[in-house]
Amino acid sequence: MVAEAAAQPDEAAHPAERDRATAASPVAPVLELEDAFPDFEASSLPNALLRLRLCPGECVLIETHDTERATALADLCSGMIPLIRGTVRFMGYDWSELDQERSLALRGRIGRIHARGAWASLLRTHVNVMLPMLHHTREPVASIAQSALELAQQVGLPGLPLVRPDRLGESDLVRAACVRAFLGEPQLLLIEGAAIGAESAELMPVLLDLLLRALDRGAAAVCFARDLPLWRRQHFPMSQRLILLEDGLKSMRDL
C-alpha cells in the first residue's frame, strides 16, 4: 500500500515517539491501555482505571451488554476520548501526544465495525466501504475496488453494493461493514458486536476466517460481545476474555 505523505504515521510522528516505537521489543503491543482514566464527562465509560495490553496476533473478547459503553471503549482505543490520566498507545504512539492530523492518519490503520451511525447516508455503499482507503492511501482506485470485491465475495455478497446504505438489508449491511473493516489490512480491528445480531449468525464463520487471517499477519483485535454464546459457538481464538464493569475491565477468570 502506498500511503499519502501526511497520512503515513511513521513519517508523521515525532522522532522521539518513533524512536520509542522502534526501540521496543518485536512483541511491542499493538494496543496498550496503561491505567487509562477516561474523562467521565466525555464518555459513558466507568469511572475507573482501564488496563489492556494487546500484542500482534492477539484477540480480546470484551463482554458488555451496554452498546453505548462498548462504542465508548472502542472510541477510547481509537484516541477519541480525552483521558484524565494514564495513556492509550496504538502501534507505540501515545494518542495524547499526537496532533489532530497525525491522530487521523493513525486511525487509518484501524478497521472497525461500528454499532451506530456506521454509514454516511450521502454516499453510496461502495464509496462508504472504500472511503478510508481512498482518503488515506494513494493506491489506485481499481486496486482498492478489486480488494473490496474479493472481500465482498468472501463474506457472501455477490459484489460491492452500489446502492445507498438505507436501501440495503441489515444482513447485507453487516457484510459490507466487514468488508470495510478488513479492507487495507488494518493493524487493529475493533468489532462492535452489537452490529452483529443473532440474525447475522451465519456470518460468524466468515468473520472468524477473516479474523484468523488478520491475526496471522500480525494484527490485533478487540471484539465487543453482547450476545456471548454467539461468539463462544465459533471458537474464536481469544487470548483474553474480559468483562467491562463499573470498576473497569476484569478478566472473566477472576469473577
Binding site: A74, R107, I110, G117, A118, S121, L131, P132, H135
Partner: protein, 257 residues
C-alpha cells in the same frame, strides 16, 4: 440574570465567531497541497457540478426576469426623461453591483445551501460524522473545505451567467418593444464603458464572498447540530444564517467600496 445575559450574548456571537474561525481554517487548509486528497478533490468536483449545473436554470430564469424589469424599465424611463446616457451607469450600479450578487446568493442558498445543510445535519445528528472521525476522516476536510470553495467559485460563475442573461435578454425585449435602437454590441460597449475599475474588483469580490459564506454557513450549521436537533429546527436556523451572511456581506462591501 447575569447568566441569562451571558448565555444570550454567547448564543448570538458564537456563530459569527465560528464562521470567522472556520473561514480562516478553510483558507489555511486550501493552500496546503496535502489537504487536496482525492476524496477532497472528488467532493469539490461533485459540489461544483451540483451547484453550477443545478443552479443554471434558476439563475437563467431569474436573470431574464430581472433583465426585462431592469434593462427595459431603465431604457424606457430614462429615455422618456431625456437621460438615456445614464442607462449604462444605472444598470451597472443597480443590476450588476447590487441586485446580481443578492439574487445569485439567494439562488445558491435555496438551491444548494439548504441541500448541504440537510445532508450535513443528518451526518452529524445520526453519528455518521463521528464514524468518519473514527476512520481518520475529518468531515471538515472532506466536506467543509471543498464545498465552501466550490460554492465561492460557483457563485462567481452563476453571477457571470446571470449578468449575460439579464443584459442580453433585457436588450432583446427592449429592442422588440422599440425602446432601444442601438445594436447589441454598442449597448454592451456602453455598459463596459460605464464600469469603473472598482466595479471590476467589487463585483467579483461580492460574488466570491457571498458564495464562500453561504457554503461555509450551511456546512457549519449542519455540523454543529446537536443530537437533539431535528431538521425542522436546523433548517430555519440555516436559512437565517444564510440570509444574514448574504445581506451583511453585500452591505459591507458596498459601504467599503
Amino acid at each position: 440574570m447575569l447568566a441569562a445575559i451571558g448565555r444570550f450574548t454567547r448564543e448570538r456571537v458564537s456563530f459569527p465567531l465560528m464562521l470567522a474561525a472556520a473561514g480562516w481554517g478553510v483558507i489555511r487548509e486550501a493552500i496546503r497541497p496535502v489537504s487536496w486528497r482525492r476524496t477532497v478533490r472528488h467532493e469539490f468536483n461533485l459540489t461544483m457540478r451540483q451547484t453550477i449545473l443545478g443552479g443554471f436554470g434558476s439563475t437563467a430564469v431569474t436573470a431574464c426576469l430581472a433583465g426585462v424589469g431592469m434593462v427595459y424599465e431603465s431604457l424606457y424611463w430614462l429615455g422618456m426623461a431625456g437621460e438615456a446616457q445614464l442607462t449604462s451607469t444605472v444598470l451597472v450600479t443597480v443590476l450588476l453591483r447590487e441586485l446580481m450578487p443578492l439574487l445569485v446568493g439567494l439562488i445558491l442558498l435555496g438551491r444548494s445551501g439548504m441541500l448541504t445543510l440537510t445532508e450535513l445535519t443528518v451526518l452529524q445528528t445520526s453519528g455518521q460524522a463521528r464514524t468518519m472521525l473514527a476512520q481518520g476522516i475529518d468531515p471538515f476536510l472532506v466536506f467543509v473545505l471543498p464545498r465552501t470553495l466550490a460554492f465561492a467559485i460557483a457563485s462567481f460563475t452563476l453571477g457571470m451567467i446571470f449578468a449575460a442573461f439579464a443584459l442580453v435578454f433585457g436588450y432583446v425585449v427592449s429592442n422588440l418593444l422599440g425602446s432601444v435602437h442601438d445594436s447589441l454590441g454598442r449597448f454592451l460597449s456602453h455598459l463596459v464603458g460605464a464600469l469603473a475599475v472598482r466595479d471590476y474588483l467589487i463585483i467579483p469580490a461580492k460574488l466570491l464572498a457571498i458564495g464562500y459564506l453561504v457554503g461555509l454557513g450551511s456546512c457549519l450549521t449542519g455540523l454543529t447540530a446537536s443530537p437533539d436537533d431535528e431538521l425542522a429546527s436546523v433548517m430555519p436556523r440555516g436559512f437565517v444564517h444564510g440570509i444574514l451572511s448574504i445581506m451583511i456581506t453585500d452591505i459591507l462591501l458596498t459601504v467599503a467600496s
